[in-house]
Structures are given as structure tokens and as C-alpha cells.
């Protein structure tokens, strides 16, 4: 993958916002790379009790990749929408990888009914959340997307409304119901 300047990545983002699908395809690997490096960096710190929010990662990636002076906030929302999706995948992959490492040893590893019967841990188990979001997507795909954008991408309700082309009221209602439903699924 060629090195790309903030200007050209910004151009890709704008081109995509204007409807150029190929621009998105070029953009995704860059955003992914950036997010993953950041995530890995933070996770290597291994400072106990260190609190890291994915939204912070996405923000950092945005600042590093995008030339913020030449872009409108709608484009920003679109960037975050893509980033949220990638962030989710990265974090869930990390969580699964940790799980594999944890269960190493001489045994042949067998992935099991992982999230269908999820353990109840105090913190939100990312794998379980990922699965619950998939389940929610089957019931109401927009609600699942709202949570993804807010939780993994850190988008504000207004930005989510812009990305999903619905009213802020709708996003608020979606969030309320999805949050309650997921709480029951994961508690």
C-alpha cells in the first residue's frame, strides 16, 4: 500500500462523499491500518487499569489522516462511520485473539459456541457485544448501526442522523431501545 498524504486521503474522503465508490475502497485500508496500529500500540502498554476508549482511537486516526482545514463536518461524519465499522472489527479480532492465546497449550483449540451463551463478566465483553449487535441487526439493522457508530466510532447523535439520513429524534429513539435491549442481552 503506497504511502498517502493527509491531502490525498482527504481527497478520497471527499470523492467518496460525492458518490465515488472506488474512493471508499481506496480509503478503507488506510483507515484500517491507522486504527489498528493505534489500537495495538495502546494495548501493548499493558498498564493495569488503563482505560482506553475506541472513540479516542478513532479521533486520533482522524486527526492524523485527514487535513481538517479542508473538510466539512458531514465528511467528518462519513469518515467516522467507516472508522466505526473498522474499529469494531479490529477490537473484536483483538478480543478473539486474546481468547485464543489464553486457551493455548497443547490442546487442539476449538472455537465454541462463543457468544450464544456468553459469560457474564462485569465489563462489556466485546465478542459478546459484537454478536449481540449482529443479532440486533437481524431485528433492526439501523439500530445496530446506531450503536456501532456511537460506541465504536464515537459519533454524536446529530452526526449519526447525518450518516443514516434520518432525524435526530429517530436516532435518539433507536439508541434508547437498542441500549436497553443490548443491556438485557449482555447483562
Amino acid at each position: 500500500m503506497a504511502e498517502t498524504s493527509p491531502q490525498s486521503i482527504t481527497q478520497l474522503l471527499i470523492a467518496w462523499s460525492d458518490g465515488d465508490q472506488a474512493a471508499l475502497d481506496q480509503l478503507i485500508p488506510h483507515v484500517y491500518q491507522e486504527l489498528r496500529q493505534q489500537a495495538e500500540f495502546y494495548l501493548r502498554q499493558e498498564r493495569p487499569g488503563h482505560l482506553l476508549q475506541p472513540t479516542a482511537l478513532v479521533n486520533e486516526a482522524y486527526l492524523r489522516l485527514i487535513d481538517c482545514d479542508h473538510i466539512q463536518w458531514q465528511n467528518r461524519a462519513q469518515f467516522f462511520a467507516v472508522a466505526a465499522q473498522l474499529m469494531r472489527r479490529i477490537l473484536v479480532d483483538f478480543a478473539r485473539a486474546r481468547d485464543y492465546a489464553k486457551r493455548g497449550g497443547g490442546l487442539r483449540q476449538v472455537s465454541l459456541t462463543e457468544a450464544t451463551i456468553a459469560p457474564r463478566e462485569k465489563n462489556t465483553d466485546l465478542v459478546a457485544l459484537d454478536d449481540a449487535l449482529n443479532t440486533l441487526a437481524e431485528l433492526d439493522s439501523r439500530q445496530s448501526r446506531v450503536v456501532e457508530l456511537r460506541f465504536f466510532g464515537g459519533l454524536k447523535l446529530e452526526e449519526i442522523a447525518e450518516v443514516l439520513k434520518v432525524s435526530v429524534g429517530t436516532v435518539r429513539r433507536d439508541w434508547s431501545l437498542a441500549q436497553a435491549w443490548l443491556y438485557n442481552e449482555l447483562k
Partner: protein, 768 residues
């Protein structure tokens, strides 16, 4: 839960939230109008709403850090879970453990997955899990991991849930790829079987979403099993035809695959140790973009897997995951070298970036894979003869095999599909049975096909209705007979009705017919009460029959009952046929509504000829839309070769088999008939070919009957003429009619062609 239900719950949730907390209970009681479950669900959400403030505002990534693993194995060798006895631990994963166990009842090995009590306190989750495991098992396909049983046993302070699944003795495709390069034909075979699994899953509304060499297993006998529908999505409402359709929401996790660390893979030089990155290489562009996936995404993944099997490397590669994603999204796939052009075309089509350009269904891909595999096989067999290489001499009788299936290079073992052949003795000719009608149960000339296994499974599962259909003389009755025999051996009570043998008077009215059928039950099951004693004239015949069956057979016998109905197409032309089929359907529905009821113990195994479709002009009238359907297929090239061996190899070499196969395709009856003729009259292939279409020849009766039924419909004759002249079939309807009648094959009105060369020659002679 269905999306509709979720919307309904959501609407009430929002309305209730608008009211003050003390008004909510009364509001919901009224709005839910007696639907207690609905009220309970909405209230649970309202409670959650109060507690969930701040929930999901941001996770603490420190929870990704590894925790000390202090888990002890759940079970020890010898421990029993239901009928399953633990043998050894196969592996452990995040949420449970998988053991090799023994099914004490059926004495077979199973993979037993145990879910610790700690994870199963949530009744709702467990319930959904079970429903989904059931739904997954409803896909019932020989290439998909079979779930045998689910259950629970008290253990320690809680309850341990278990799932028993088929134990697969073999290796993953990844393991196979690490050993040696794969020849194209083996790759096609594996890909074809995987495509068949996907097609079945898609039909049941399940998208795999994570197909890769790690979760394709190759059993020792060559059977391919796709497992780990680990990310699989189950779309609501489309699973099965009724009884097995659970609520259908959410995730289906049927993950039994050994998770191989990807660092072991030479084809994926992805640096980060321990990271799970493999799926990116098989992920479709739409998945990479986070868009909705459908069956076509699985087609892409299978294309990537096929590419790797052939090329020994993944189609999209890169130094980092980001590079792999970039390649998936926008790079052209690297060209394949030294492979047939057709194979490259198939792979490229499957790997199209735009899903509209791909095969639209796994089934389409499957068909092309199958055709290509066949072409390659025939080409490979024709080659030596064409080059004049080593002409195979007919060997002495003690060693009649001119070639054995195992000796053909590059072909996946097919021996698994074939029953043990009789030893080729000099007395072979004397023991030859006449060809025609059902193949006797003890015959050495019965060729097992995948449908045999499916039929056996359906009977073992006690499905409500099992349909065996196919063109005339394709082997339906033989299959039915074997299935019933196995049911008998397994302790079921079996009743057989052959509709062809019913004399016309019994088919005059529905009352007459049902009474006859009830008498058959009384006779064959030796029931104490005869229908005459309880048949009431003031009740409809349907009610009489149903009550008789329930009270006198199902309630009084403890064993399951399997009712075989052969040649039921005879009912298609009766006025009351629809009523009878309606009755069968209603039993099917009763089972779905009352799973614990008596109807659960009744299985209808129905065989009918699709040839009847020649006369059903409206194809929507097809009498069955419920049950497990088994379409009997023609013999494959290998199966024809195997049958030839069993007949003492009258076809002398590969080239002859190929010629014979072209003449008859795999038409089960014709193939047997021809071999029988050659052996009994000591004919060579050339002589057989010469007399093949003559009225006096071995196929004369068959061909004549074909022509007679065709001549009843002038319009259809015109269509056949067009097809013979290589024109497309004018209407889809006639295409389907010709195909279900076994007259023509092909996948569309354009590519329709006569089923075999014999048909083409004969029909040309009589129709053109």
C-alpha cells in the same frame, strides 16, 4: 424473535416511556391485550432502560488483557451426558469444551460440546441457543456438520448443557493444503461439496460469512463437511417448512472446528503473532466495507478458497491486514497459471468485486463446478486412448477389473459412496438379476448415492414427510425399499402402500381409498381393531381415517410408524388427490403445533415420479410444499464405472466407459439395462451402440413408452423438436416439464438439451 415482533415491542416501549412510571403497568396491561409474553418483554426493556444509563458509552479495552486461566475441565473420561460417554478432551475454547464421546445407544463416536453452568444461567439465552441449534440442524445436508442431540444434565451446583454432533475423522482443508498441492480435480471436488453445503444453508436462510480453509473439513473417506457457521446469520422466517422453523432470530453458532493459529499458514505471511487475521483473505469486498452480506458473499469466499486450492496461495495478499483489505477491495486477482481456461473463468466470476457480477447463488456455482469436473474427468480418460497409449487388455477372469476407482489419479475417493461390490466370479452371469423395477434389497448391483444417506437420516430423525422424487426409473422404489428396511431394523413399524398396485375401484372415491389405506394399516401392523368397527358414516372419510390412525395405531403402538407410499403420482389424476395431500399436510402441521403429540411418531415416506409433471401443465399445482425433499439424481461417471465393475467390466476400458456414459448419461435404469444386456448376450459396446435405438434393442420398450407419453401433447412435441434442433426452449414452463420428466437436462431454457445421446438419436428419428 422476528423483526416484526421486535418492532411491536419497540413501539410499545416508546409509548410506555412517554407515560409516567406509575401509569406504565396499567397502560401495558391494556395495550398488550392478554399477550403476557409481549408485556413481559416490554417491561424487561423498561427496567433495562432505567439501569442502562451510561451503558455502552465506552468500553475499557483493558478487558482485552489475558486473564489467568484457572478453568478445570468440565468432564472426565467415562462421565455420562445423556446417552453420551466422554472419551477424551479434544479441545477447549472461549466458552466451553469439546470432547470426543461415544454414543452409547448407537455406538458411534460423537463430538460432544459442553457448556459450563456459569454460562447457562440465562434461561432466555439457553432457549434461543437450543432453538438455533435445532434450526441449524434443520439444514440437514451431508456436507454440513450434523447435530445429533442437545440436552442438559445437572452437574455440581448448576446445569451443564451439551450438544452432540457428528464426529469428523479427518483434517481441515488448511491441513490438507499444508501437505501437498491439490490437483484441479480434487480442488473441484472439495469446492463442489462446499458449494453444495452453502447452497443448502442459503436455502434455509443461513449465510456462513466466514468460509475459509480452516472450517472446511475433509473426512477420511473424501466427504467434505463445512462447519463453524460461527459467524453465520440466520435470517428469520425461512428455515424449514414449518415444524423446524423456530423464532429464527439471531446468531447460529455451530462451531466445532479446530481453530488453527494462522501463523501456521505459509500462504498468509501476516506478521502480528496471535492475531486472527485470516478471514480478511477470504472476505468479500462488501464485508470489508461493512455492508450487509448475503449468499453471494459466501460465493466470493468460496471462490477465494478455490483459488487457494489451485494456486497454493490466496488470491489477495499483502504484508499487513490493511494491504490484504486493499487487495480485496480494489486489486485484480492474480492470474492463475497452468489451469484450464474454464476453471480460471469460474474462479474469476466467483471473485467479482461487484456481487451482481458473481454467481448469484451457490447453486449456480455448484453446477458449473460439477460440469467442469465431469469434463476434466472425461478428458482425462479419453486422453490415453486417443494417444494410443497402453491399450487395456481384458484381464483374466480372476482379476476382471480393468481399472479401479482408486487408481484414477486426482479424483477424490468415491468409494465412500459405493456399496461393497460383489466379488467378480465366473458365475457372475448366472447370478445376474433381471433389470427393471426395484433393485432387490440384497442385490450386489445397488449403487449408493448421496440421497441414500439423506433418506436414511430423514427416517432416523422421524421427519414428518420425506419425499423421494425423480424421473421414471431413476431408482425411487429401490431407495424407498432400503429406507423402509432400515427403519424396520431400527425398530420402527412399517407400512407400505404401492399405489400402482391398487385396483381402479379403490380409487373411485376418497372414502373408498381411505378405507382401503386404513385396512392396509390394520393388516400390516396387525392392529386389534379393524377400520369397519370404528368407521362412522356420519363423519367424513378424512376424519375417520385420521382418528383410526391416531387411536388404533399411534396410541396403541409405542414404536414410531413409517408409512411408505410408492408411486403416489397415481393420485395426481384423481379428483380427490388434493384432498388426500391436504390431509397429509395437516398431520405435518399438527406435529409442528404439538411437538409432544402422537403425530410426531408418524413419518410418511412418499415416492413419486416427476414424469407426472408432463401432464401437470400448471407447475404451481405441485402437491407437496412441505417435508424433506430428496431429488434422485443420475449416476455420476464414477458410479457408472463402479457398476461396470460389478457387472464384470463388459466395458473394457476408460474410453469405453466414457463412450457409454455419453450414450446414456447416468440414467440409472438405462445404464443397468445396457450392462446387463452386454453381459447376458456377450455383446461388445459397438454392437450395443448399433442396436441402441432399434425397437427390438434393449432400450426399445423404454424409448417407446417415452415417445407415447410425449405424443399425447402436441405442443410439447414441438418444444422437443426445437430442442433437438439446438434452439432454446420457447417457454420456461415447458423447460421445467421436460426436465422433470427426465427428457432433457440443462439449467435454463437456453442450455436445455436431451438427457442423453440415446434420447437425442431416437427422438430425432421419430419427431423430425
Amino acid at each position: 424473535m422476528t423483526p416484526e415482533r421486535y418492532q411491536q415491542i419497540g413501539a410499545l416501549y416508546h409509548k410506555a416511556l412517554k407515560r409516567s412510571p406509575d401509569e406504565r403497568a396499567a397502560y401495558l396491561a391494556e395495550a398488550c391485550a392478554g399477550d403476557e409474553e409481549l408485556r413481559r418483554q416490554v417491561e424487561a426493556l423498561l427496567v433495562a432502560h432505567e439501569q442502562a444509563r451510561g451503558f455502552l458509552v465506552g468500553p475499557d479495552l483493558s478487558l482485552l488483557n489475558p486473564a489467568p486461566d484457572d478453568r478445570k475441565p468440565i468432564a472426565t473420561a467415562g462421565q455420562r451426558f445423556g446417552q453420551f460417554e466422554v472419551v477424551s478432551l479434544l479441545g477447549a475454547g472461549g466458552m466451553g469444551e469439546v470432547y470426543l464421546a461415544r454414543d452409547t445407544r448407537l455406538a458411534r463416536p460423537v463430538a460432544l460440546k459442553l457448556l459450563p453452568a456459569a454460562y447457562t444461567r440465562d434461561a432466555d439465552r439457553v432457549r434461543r441457543f437450543k432453538q438455533e441449534a435445532r434450526a441449524a440442524s434443520a439444514t440437514n445436508h451431508p456436507n454440513i456438520l450434523t447435530i445429533f442431540d442437545i440436552g442438559e444434565v445437572p452437574l455440581g451446583e448448576g446445569v451443564t448443557h451439551y450438544i452432540a454432533a457428528e464426529y469428523i475423522d479427518g483434517q481441515t482443508l488448511r491441513g490438507r493444503l499444508l501437505q501437498a498441492p491439490m490437483p484441479p480435480r480434487e480442488a473441484l471436488d472439495v469446492a463442489g461439496q462446499a458449494a453444495a453445503a452453502l447452497a443448502a444453508a442459503h436455502e434455509a436462510g443461513i449465510v456462513h460469512r466466514d468460509l475459509k480453509p480452516e472450517n472446511v473439513m475433509i473426512r477420511r473417506d473424501g466427504y467434505v463437511k463445512v462447519l463453524d457457521f460461527g459467524l453465520a446469520k440466520l435470517r428469520s422466517g425461512r428455515v424449514g417448512d414449518g415444524e423446524t422453523a423456530g423464532p429464527g432470530e439471531g446468531e447460529t453458532r455451530v462451531a466445532f472446528s479446530p481453530a488453527l493459529p494462522l501463523s501456521h499458514s505459509p500462504t498468509l505471511p501476516l506478521s502480528t503473532p496471535g492475531m486472527v487475521m485470516g478471514t480478511f483473505a477470504y472476505m468479500s469486498p462488501e464485508q470489508a466495507r461493512g455492508e450487509e452480506v448475503d449468499g453471494r458473499s459466501d460465493v466470493f469466499s468460496l471462490g477465494a478458497v478455490l483459488y487457494e486450492m489451485i494456486a497454493g496461495r490466496v488470491p489477495f495478499d499483502g504484508k499487513s491486514p490493511a494491504d490484504v483489505i486493499a487487495a480485496v477491495l480494489s486489486h485484480e486477482v492474480r492470474p492463475l497459471t497452468d489451469v484450464p481456461a474454464e476453471l480460471e473463468r469460474i474462479v474469476r466470476k466467483a471473485l467479482s468485486k461487484d456481487r451482481e457480477q458473481r454467481y448469484q447463488t451457490a447453486k449456480d456455482l455448484l453446477i458449473e463446478l460439477k460440469n467442469l469436473k465431469l469434463e476434466l474427468e472425461i478428458a482425462a480418460r479419453l486422453k490415453p486412448a486417443a494417444q494410443g497409449e497402453a491399450k487395456v487388455e481384458r484381464k483374466p477372469e480372476a482379476e476382471t477389473r480393468t481399472w479401479s476407482v482408486d487408481q484414477i489419479p486426482d479424483v477424490a475417493p468415491v468409494s465412500a459412496l459405493l456399496a461393497t461390490p460383489p466379488s467378480n466370479s465366473p458365475a457372475l452371469r448366472e447370478m445376474l438379476e433381471p433389470v427393471g423395477g426395484a433393485v432387490p434389497l440384497d442385490s450386489g448391483f445397488y449403487i449408493l448415492r448421496p440421497t441414500d444417506e439423506k433418506f436414511r437420516q430423514a427416517i432416523a430423525r422421524q421427519d414428518s414427510i420425506v419425499l423421494v422424487k425423480g424421473a421414471r426409473q431413476v431408482g425411487k422404489t429401490s431407495l424407498l425399499a432400503r429406507g423402509l428396511q432400515q427403519a424396520r431394523e431400527a425398530g420402527a413399524q412399517v407400512v407400505l402402500t404401492d399405489f400402482q398396485s391398487l385396483s381402479a375401484e379403490y380409487l373411485e372415491s376418497i372414502g373408498q381409498l381411505l378405507l382401503t389405506l386404513a385396512n392396509a394399516f390394520a393388516d400390516q401392523l396387525d392392529l386389534d381393531v379393524t377400520p369397519d368397527e370404528v368407521w362412522k358414516p356420519n363423519r367424513g372419510p378424512g376424519v375417520n381415517f385420521e382418528q383410526y390412525l391416531r387411536r388404533e395405531a399411534l396410541l396403541k403402538l409405542s414404536a414410531p410408524i413409517v408409512w411408505g407410499l410408492d408411486e403416489i403420482d397415481r393420485l395426481f389424476t384423481c379428483d380427490f388427490g388434493g384432498e388426500v395431500f391436504g390431509l397429509f399436510r395437516s398431520w405435518h402441521n399438527k406435529r409442528a403445533l404439538d411437538p409432544a403429540g402422537q403425530w410426531r411418531r408418524l413419518t410418511l415416506a412418499i415416492a413419486y415420479a416427476t414424469e407426472a409433471h408432463l401432464f401437470i401443465t400448471d407447475l404451481n399445482q405441485s402437491p407437496f410444499n412441505v417435508g424433506t425433499r430428496l431429488q434422485l439424481e443420475d449416476f455420476t461417471f464414477e458410479q457408472v464405472a463402479e457398476l461396470n465393475e460389478r457387472y464384470g467390466a463388459p466395458l473394457k476400458d476408460k474410453a469405453e466407459i466414457a463412450r457409454y456414459y455419453r450414450l446414456l448419461s447416468g440414467h440409472p435404469y438405462l445404464v443397468r439395462r445396457g450392462l446387463h444386456e452386454m453381459v447376458t448376450n456377450n455383446l461388445g459396446l459397438t454392437e450395443l451402440e448399433a442396436g441402441a435405438v432399434s425397437e427390438e434393442g434393449p432400450f426399445g420398450d423404454h424409448l417407446r413408452r417415452l415417445l407415447i407419453s410425449l405424443n399425447k401433447d402436441a405442443e410439447l412435441c414441438d418444444v422437443v423438436r426445437a430442442v433437438l434442433q439446438g434452439k432454446p426452449c420457447p417457454a420456461p414452463e415447458s423447460f421445467y416439464r421436460l426436465r422433470s420428466a427426465g427428457l432433457a437436462i440443462g439449467e435454463s431454457t437456453r442450455d436445455i438439451r436431451p438427457r442423453c445421446q440415446l434420447y437425442a438419436t431416437y427422438l430425432e428419428r421419430h419427431l423430425l
